[in-house]
C-alpha cells in the first residue's frame, strides 16, 4: 500500500478497543496504521481526545492517549487514525494566550487563525546551518552574568530542589534579560508540566506586572491535568517557539518547568509498555528523548531569531547524579545549580557557582562584549572560592583561631562573595560592570600574590586590598 492509498483510509472510524492499560489503548483489525500517527479517540459520550501511535503492527496498534483513559470503555470507544503526525497550527497571535499541552485554547475562546501547521516533533537542525551563539544576555543577576553567563541561543537549565526559589529566579531572569545595545523583538514561551496552579499563576502575575504578558505564550499542563499530556506539551511549545524565532525573527526565551515531571511521565509510559529500564527505572532512551527537546534551541544562519531555553528541574533528593539532572547536564550547555545550604544562609539566589557552568560563556565575554577582565576575573573567583571550601573544612576541625593569616583572608573573602556578590534582591538589576566590580571587591580580601589567574596588568588596574 502506498502512502496515498493509506491516506484514503485515514479518517475511517473504528469502534471497539482490545485492551486499555493505563494511558495506553490497543486496537486490532485496523488498516495499516503509520508509526507516530495522530489519533482521534471518541468516548461513549462523544468527547474527543487525542493520541499518538506508539507501536504499529499487522496485529495491533498501540496508542497513547494524551488526555488519559479514564472513563473509556472497550466496546464503545471509537478511533480515527489521521494519517499524519501530530501537528500544531502556529501563529504569532498565540502570544498572550493560554493553551493546553496540545495547543488548544484553555480560556475557551476561539483559537487564532493558524499561519502554518508544523509537525510537533520537529526535525533536527542541520549542524552546518547553525550559528555558534555568542551574544551576551545581561540578566542583572551577578552569579549568572559574572560566573555562568547566559548567551542568546543557549540552553541553560536551573537544577533546583523542592522548596527553593527557582521560580522566583526564572521570573527575575525573564523580567530583566536583555541584550545590551540591541533593540530586539522578543517573546517568551512558558511551558508548565505538572506544576501546581499557583506556581503557574505566579508566573502569569509576574509577566503581567512587568507588562509583557502580551508577548508570552503559555502552554499549561498542570498537576491535575492527565500526566501523559506533559509528554506533548514541550513539543507543542517548542514548535511555536521555532516558528516565532525562525519564521518571525523573534528572540524567544523558553521557560520549561518542571522537567522532572516530564521525565516521570516518560517513565510511566515506558514501565507500562514493559520496556527494559536503565537507571532508576527510566527508559534507556531518556537521553535521546530529552535531547530532542533541548536541541531545539540556538540560532540559524540567515535567520534573525533565536531560541534560548531555561528549563527548570527539581533534583530528586537534592541529588545531582540522579538520571534527570545528570542526563540534562550532558545535553545542555551548562547548568545553574542551587544549594540548599546557601538558601538556608539566606542567600538569594542560592546558586552554588562551583558545580554551575556556562559552556557558551567563553565566546560571549571579554573585550568588546562584557569587559576585558571578565574571563580571568571569573576564573580567579572560581579558583579562590573553591579554596574557601577547604579552609572552612579545616576551620571546622582545628578551629578558626588556629587558622593561618592567609586562611583567614580566604574566610573573609568567602563571606563577602556569598553575602554581597551572590546575594541580591529579587528586583535588583545589576549591570555587568557593577557585577565585575563587586567581584574585584571580593578579591580585595586576598593578598595580591594569591591571584595567579589574573595578569599583572589586570591586577594593577582593578585590585585594591580591602582594609583590615
Amino acid at each position: 500500500m502506498t502512502d496515498s492509498q493509506r491516506i484514503r483510509l485515514s479518517g475511517r472510524e473504528y469502534r471497539g478497543l482490545e485492551r486499555i492499560d493505563g494511558s495506553l489503548v490497543f486496537m486490532k483489525n485496523t488498516h495499516p496504521v503509520g508509526y507516530n500517527e495522530l489519533v482521534q479517540i471518541t468516548d461513549k459520550d462523544g468527547n474527543i481526545r487525542s493520541g499518538q501511535v506508539l507501536d504499529t503492527s499487522d496485529e495491533a496498534v498501540c496508542v497513547q492517549v494524551f488526555d488519559g483513559t479514564s472513563a473509556l470503555n472497550l466496546p464503545d470507544t471509537r478511533m480515527v487514525f489521521m494519517g499524519e503526525p501530530i501537528t500544531l497550527g502556529v501563529t504569532d497571535k498565540m502570544l498572550g494566550r493560554v493553551m493546553d499541552g496540545l495547543g488548544n485554547m484553555r480560556d475557551g475562546n476561539a483559537a487564532p487563525m493558524a499561519e502554518a501547521r508544523r509537525d510537533v516533533n520537529g526535525s533536527p537542525i542541520n549542524p552546518t546551518a547553525r550559528i555558534y551563539p555568542r551574544d551576551f544576555i545581561q540578566t542583572g543577576i551577578s552569579c549568572i552574568d559574572g560566573m555562568t553567563t547566559l548567551i542568546q541561543g543557549q540552553k541553560l537549565p536551573i537544577f533546583s530542589a523542592n522548596g527553593l526559589d527557582h521560580n522566583i529566579l526564572a521570573a527575575q531572569i525573564a523580567r530583566q534579560a536583555k541584550v545590551r545595545g540591541a533593540d530586539s523583538d522578543f517573546a517568551i514561551v512558558f511551558v508548565a508540566m505538572g506544576i501546581k496552579y499557583d506556581t503557574a499563576q505566579f508566573f502569569i502575575d509576574s509577566f503581567e506586572s512587568s507588562g509583557v504578558l502580551d508577548n508570552v505564550a503559555l502552554f499549561l499542563s498542570l498537576a491535575d491535568d492527565p500526566s501523559i499530556e506533559r509528554l506533548i506539551t514541550p513539543k507543542s511549545a517548542l514548535t511555536l517557539a521555532e516558528f516565532l524565532a525562525f519564521d518571525k525573527g523573534k528572540q524567544v526565551l523558553v521557560i520549561m518547568t518542571d522537567m522532572t515531571n516530564y521525565c516521570e511521565s516518560l517513565r510511566e509510559i515506558s514501565t507500562l509498555r514493559g520496556e527494559i529500564p536503565s537507571r532508576k527505572g527510566y527508559p534507556g532512551y531518556l537521553y535521546s528523548n530529552l535531547a530532542e527537546l533541548y536541541e531545539r534551541s540556538g540560532k540559524i544562519e540567515g535567520r534573525e531569531g533565536s531560541i534560548t531555553q531555561l528549563p527548570i528541574l527539581t533534583m530528586p533528593n537534592d541529588d545531582i547524579s540522579h538520571p534527570i539532572p545528570d542526563l540534562t547536564g550532558y545535553i545542555t550547555e551548562g547548568q545553574i545549580v542551587f544549594s540548599r545550604q546557601l538558601a538556608s544562609k539566606g542567600v538569594y539566589p542560592p546558586v552554588d557557582v562551583l558545580p554551575s557552568l556556562s559552556r557558551l560563556m567563553k565566546d560571549g565575554i571579554g573585550e568588546g562584549m562584557t569587559r576585558s577582565d571578565h574571563p580571568h576575573l571569573s576564573n580567579q573567583l572560581f579558583a579562590s572560592y573553591s579554596h574557601v571550601k577547604d579552609v572552612r573544612n579545616l576551620a571546622s576541625v582545628i578551629g578558626e583561631e588556629e587558622l593561618t593569616d592567609l586562611d583567614r583572608c580566604y574566610m573573609r573573602f568567602g563571606e563577602f562573595f556569598e553575602q554581597r556578590f551572590l546575594k541580591q534582591g529579587t528586583n535588583e538589576d545589576r549591570s555587568i560592570e557593577q557585577t565585575l566590580d563587586l567581584g574585584w571587591k571580593a578579591l580585595g580580601f586576598l593578598p595580591r600574590e594569591e591571584l595567579s589567574r589574573l595578569s599583572e596588568d589586570e591586577i594593577d588596574s582593578h585590585y585594591t586590598a580591602a582594609e583590615a
Binding site: 507516530n36 537521553y287 535531547a291 547536564g329 572560581f382
Partner: protein, 586 residues
C-alpha cells in the same frame, strides 16, 4: 527506483522495524523502506522475517510498506574529497543536504558522499603491466596542499596485472582509470574511489609495535600520561569536566596528519563550533588551515539513534583508509557512551536479554572490536601508518564503576580520568594525576629520552613521586593545619601547587598556552624541578619557606606558560636561590 522488493513491514517500533515475507536477504544487508526509501540495515534474520534497524525517523511507516534491497552491506565511499567534509553517521554530506533540503534535516534525503563531478588531477606512480594486489598504490591526486591522496586498488581485489592504465590527467571519481587483470582472465575496474563496508576493518600486513608519541601539545598528557601513535585512550568524566574540550584541543594541535572527529550523540553547537573555528585556525606544523586535515562526522543527540550507532564505524573506516596511504590519523569519538546507549536502545527494542544496566551482553565485544581497529600498521602496500583512537566516555553520575567505563578500561592502554573537583575549581584540563595512567610510558621512554638527554624520565619520575607525597601530606594538613609540618615538607606542598598552576593547567582559550610544544614542556618541567632542588637546599641551609616562596622569580615561574620563550628564567632562579643560601652560609 527500481530495486527489488524483498519483504513487507510487519511492525514498527521506533527505529526498529520487523519485516515479514523475506525471500532473499543477508545479515547486515542495507535495505530501503517505504515510500521515502528510509535507509536501514538487517540486524536479525529468522525464517522469513527480519529485523531492520532504520537510520532515519520512522514516523508514518506502516505495516505492509515495501522493503527494497540494496544488494550489499552499509558502506562508505572512499576517495578524494573526503577531507574538509562534514557527514552524518551514515556518511551523508551535511552541507549538500542543507543545500538541497534546507536548514532542518528531513527524511529520505540523499546525496553523494563525495562529489562525482569534481575532476582531480591524477598522477600515476605505477607502470602499465605491473603486478598489483589489494591495497597497491597506483598513483595519487593532490587532495589539498597537505595531503597526497594515494589511489589504491581496493583491498577486496585479488590482484593481478595492471592494465588499461589511464594517462596522467583530470578524472572524476567514477571514471575507470585502470583495470586489474586477474589470473582467471577477468578484469576488475579501478576507480579513484571505492566502497568499503563500515563494520569490517581494512586488512593490513601486520601490527607494528608502538614507539612514537602522539604529541598533543597538552602538558599533562605529553609529560605525565602520554599516548602513542596507534594507541588507544579513554577520557571518562561527568558532564562539564572537559571531555569535549580535551578532544577539541587534541584535534587542533596534535601532530597527526589527519583528524577524524566523530561527534556521536552530542551537541549540535559543538560540531558547529569545530566547523566554524577550524577553517580559521592554522596548523602550526603545516601553516595551513586545520580544516584541511579534518573530517567531521556529526550525528548529534537529536539525530536518529541507529545512525549514531553506525557513526563510529563510519569514522574509523575513513581513518583506516587514509592510514592505508601511509598517514597517521587521530580519531576522536565523543562520546562512546552515546554509542553504547544506542546499542542498548536498539537491543531493548529488539527485546534482547539485557546484561548490566540494560546494556546488551555483547557490549564488551563491540567495544573491544572498535578499539582493536586502532594501531600502528604495516599496510598491504608496504607503507606504514597509524590510527590512534581517543574515546570520550560519559559515565552516568560521573561514576566510573559503570559498565561502559569499566569495559573500555579493559581494552584501552591509556586512561585520562577527569575529576569533578578539579573542574569545579576551574583547574583545566581536569585530568586527575591520581586516577590517570598510561601504559605507553615504557614504549615511549626512548623517544623522549633521546629528545631530552634522559631528563624526561628523571623529571617525570621525580614529580610523580612529589605528587604522591603531597597526597599524604595534605591529609595531615587537613587534620591539624599546615603549621604542624616542617618547612621542608610544606615546601613539597608548595612545589606541587606551583606544578599544578604553572604546568598542569592549560587554558584552551589562551592564545599562547592552548598549545605547548615538546621542547617548551621539557624546559618548564625542568625549571620546576630545579626550583624544588634549589629551594630544598636553601631551606636546609636555614632559609625559610616564606622567603623562598616570596622570591619574585617564583611569581614568574607561575606565569611562564603565558610567555613564548622562557628567557633567563633559569639563570634568575639560580641566582636568587644562591643569594638566599649565601645569606645563611655565613
Amino acid at each position: 527506483m527500481d530495486q527489488a522488493v524483498i519483504g513487507r513491514v510487519k511492525r514498527v517500533n521506533g527505529p526498529v522495524v520487523t519485516v515479514s515475507g523475506i525471500t532473499n536477504a543477508s545479515m547486515m544487508e542495507l535495505v530501503y523502506i517505504g515510500e521515502y526509501r528510509l535507509i536501514g540495515e538487517i540486524v536479525k534474520l529468522e525464517g522469513s522475517s527480519a529485523t531492520v534497524q532504520v537510520y532515519e525517523d520512522t514516523t508514518g511507516l506502516a505495516p505492509e510498506d515495501p522493503v527494497y534491497t540494496s544488494g550489499g552491506p552499509l558502506c562508505v565511499e572512499l576517495g578524494p574529497g573526503l577531507i574538509g567534509s562534514i557527514y552524518d553517521g551514515i556518511q551523508r554530506p551535511l552541507e549538500a543536504l542543507r543545500a538541497s533540503g534546507g536548514d532542518f534535516i528531513g527524511r529520505g534525503q540523499s546525496a553523494n558522499s563525495i562529489s562525482h563531478k569534481q575532476k582531480w588531477s591524477f598522477h600515476r606512480t605505477m607502470e602499465e603491466g605491473s603486478t598489483v594486489s589489494g591495497g597497491s598504490i597506483i598513483g595519487y591526486v593532490d587532495e589539498n596542499s597537505n595531503i597526497k591522496h594515494k589511489i589504491m586498488v581496493s583491498p577486496f581485489c585479488k590482484g593481478g596485472k595492471l592494465v588499461d592504465l589511464a594517462p596522467d590527467g583530470e578524472y572524476d571519481v567514477t571514471q575507470v582509470i585502470a583495470n586489474v587483470l586477474g589470473a582467471d582472465g577477468r578484469k576488475t575496474a579501478v576507480r579513484m574511489s571505492h566502497k568499503w563496508p563500515i563494520r569490517k576493518s581494512r586488512p593490513v600486513q601486520s601490527h607494528m609495535s608502538l614507539s612514537v608519541p602522539l604529541i598533543t601539545g597538552q602538558r599533562v598528557i605529553d609529560v605525565l600520561f602520554p599516548l602513542a601513535k596507534g594507541g588507544t585512550v579513554a577520557i571518562p568524566g561527568g558532564f562539564g569536566t572537559g571531555k569535549t574540550m580535551t578532544q577539541h584541543a587534541i584535534a587542533s594541535w596534535c601532530d597527526a596528519d589527519l583528524i577524524v572527529y566523530v561527534g556521536c550523540g552530542e551537541r549540535g553547537n559543538e560540531m558547529t563550533d569545530v566547523l566554524r573555528e577550524f577553517p580559521t585556525l592554522i596548523d602550526p606544523r603545516t601553516g595551513r588551515s586545520l580544516m584541511e586535515r579534518t573530517i567531521l562526522i556529526a550525528n548529534t543527540s537529536n539525530m536518529p539513534v541507529s545512525a549514531r550507532e553506525a557513526s563510529i564505524y563510519t569514522g574509523i573506516t575513513i581513518a583506516e583508509y587514509y592510514r592505508d596511504m601511509g598517514y597517521h590519523i587521530a580519531l576522536m569519538a565523543d562520546s562512546t557512551s552515546r554509542w553504547a546507549e544506542a546499542l542498548r536502545e536498539l537491543g531493548g527494542r529488539m527485546e534482547e536479554m539485557p546484561a548490566e544496566e540494560g546494556f546488551p551482553a555483547y557490549l564488551p565485544t563491540r567495544i573491544a572490536e572498535f578499539y582493536e581497529r586502532a594501531g600502528y600498521m604495516k599496510n598491504l602496500n608496504g607503507t606504514e601508518g597509524s590510527v590512534s583512537v581517543i574515546g570520550a566516555v560519559s559515565p552516568p553520575g560521573g561514576d566510573f564503576s559503570e559498565p561502559v567505563t569499566q569495559h573500555t578500561k579493559r581494552f584501552v592502554r591509556c586512561f585520562w580520568g577527569l575529576d569533578k573537583g578539579l573542574a569545579s575549581a576551574r583547574h583545566y584540563p581536569a585530568i586527575s594525576w591520581l586516577t590517570s595512567y598510561s601504559e605507553y610510558v615504557p614504549d615511549l621512554r626512548s623517544w623522549w629520552d633521546r629528545k631530552s638527554n634522559g631528563a624526561w624520565e628523571a623529571d617525570r619520575t621525580a614529580i610523580m613521586s612529589l605528587l604522591q607525597q603531597e597526597v599524604r601530606l595534605s591529609q595531615v594538613v587537613k587534620l591539624v593545619g599546615s603549621d604542624a609540618l616542617p618547612d621542608s615538607q610544606n615546601f613539597i606542598l608548595s612545589v606541587c601547587d606551583l606544578f599544578k598552576t604553572a604546568f598542569l593547567q592549560q587554558n584552551a582559550f589562551d592564545d599562547e598556552d592552548k598549545y605547548c610544544n615538546a621542547d617548551k614542556q621539557l624546559k618548564m618541567l625542568r625549571l620546576i624541578m630545579l626550583y624544588y632542588e634549589l629551594g630544598s637546599k636553601a631551606i636546609k641551609a636555614g632559609s625559610t619557606l616564606i622567603k623562598v616562596k616570596r622570591l619574585k622569580v617564583v611569581q614568574d615561574l607561575a606565569r611562564m606558560r603565558f610567555s613564548k620563550d622562557l628567557g633567563d628564567l633559569e639563570q634568575r632562579l639560580r641566582s636568587s636561590m644562591r643569594a638566599l643560601e649565601e645569606a645563611y652560609d655565613r
